[in-house]
Amino acid sequence: MMVAAGYAREDESQPPVLVADYRSTTLRAPRHAPIAIPHTVTETTGPTAPWERLMGPAAPDLTTQVGGVAQGQRIIVGGRVLDQDRRPVAGAMIEIWQANAAGRYRHDKDQWDAPLDPNFTGAGRAITDGEGRYSYVTVRPGAYPWKNHHNAWRPAHIHLSLLGPAFATRLVTQMYFPDDPLIDLDPIIGTVPAPFRSRLVSRFDIESTRPEWALGYVFDIVLRGRDATPAGL
């Protein structure tokens, strides 16, 4: 088997750095274009399992962490982490964080006047198995207002951080829910070129829905594929 010299570069679905409609980019987006570099061993390696040695073990049930049961619509979110060549990404760390069912984060800078839930931190971790599969249990997060523009509301979303397999494949993203009317009004998912926004929207799945217990949603995640080009450039 050919040893990959690097990873594929970002594809056309990735957002630009500066988007006027998302105001926080104005003073933070670099003005210089990023400089393309070859993929060295630094970029083709990254932290891997056992994750317990770093941040801690998996914590894939966000609804029963604190003692009582979290308020809200219980859901199961699962899927696969694959690379662009459909290879499963095994042992990837998925960190999960979100607002509660009322749309409030457990964060002292979140000033939105919705109730905190003492039984919900909104933080969890899932690790992919040998087929790249993951699953976690949570409650469906609420929408919440933000001050980007008049009457701005974030659609319901779950933040996801993926580590593995390499520094080059590091991904932080947000997962949205199907049939949410706020998606078309949201400047953040709107930074993704229109044909590719659907890649960030989960789908309802009756197969993973558990009778008398929780609704199932599927969200597959695709990381960069390997690139056999010498030095990846």
Partner: protein, 184 residues
């Protein structure tokens, strides 16, 4: 292996947002050394500012580096991955080991460096940069530095401060002396 199916499209990146602190930082995440006895423990600290020179107080930095022998994920007890949120003044601090030199593509060695990911509100994609060291060897032959225009290279070098163990590395997201970020 023949692959008949088309490649899949990447999942697009989204901002980490301002509200990650209850989830992503972990105790000891900014101390890559911990209690392990080690030579050449260093501290790297600095400040992150935006295009108006204001502190970026809600960003997250991640570092990934080789151990002193130049191996990734090699030395016992030293993983080489760390994470630190900036404070209200935009400051961060890591305690780690001085990295060894690692192979360069096509032969030779890279200069000692630490890979950095910058994540934050207003950053739709991870910004990737590298920390090099003013007193590190081999900068003249480093294949990544070679891609950087000479007049911007100094933004990539950590400067020794005070003691022999401290380095300062500021990150300027935008504007004059903007940090060099890489397309990787």
């Amino acid at each position: 292996m023949s692959e008949s199916l088309p490649t899949l499209g990447q999942t697009p990146s989204q901002t980490i947002g301002p509200f990650f602190h209850f989830s992503l930082p972990w105790d000891g995440g900014a101390d890559l050394v911990g209690d392990h006895p080690a030579n050449r423990v260093i501290e790297i600290s600095g400040r992150m500012i935006d295009g108006h020179g204001e502190a970026v107080g809600d960003a997250l930095l991640e570092i990934w580096q080789a151990d002193p022998a130049g191996d990734y994920g090699g030395a016992e007890g030293f993983i080489g991955f760390g994470r630190c949120a900036t404070d209200a003044e935009g400051r961060y601090r890591f305690r780690t080991l001085f990295p060894g030199r690692t192979p360069a593509p096509g032969g030779g060695l890279q200069a000692p460096h630490i890979a950095v990911s910058v994540l934050g509100r207003g950053l739709l994609k991870r910004l990737a940069t590298r920390i090099y060291f003013e007193d590190g060897e081999g900068a003249a032959e480093d294949p990544v530095l070679a891609r950087v225009p000479a007049e911007r290279r100094s933004t990539l070098f950590a400067v020794p401060v005070d003691s022999t163990d401290g380095y300062r590395f500021d990150i300027v997201l935008q504007g004059e002396r903007e940090t060099v970020f890489f397309d990787i």
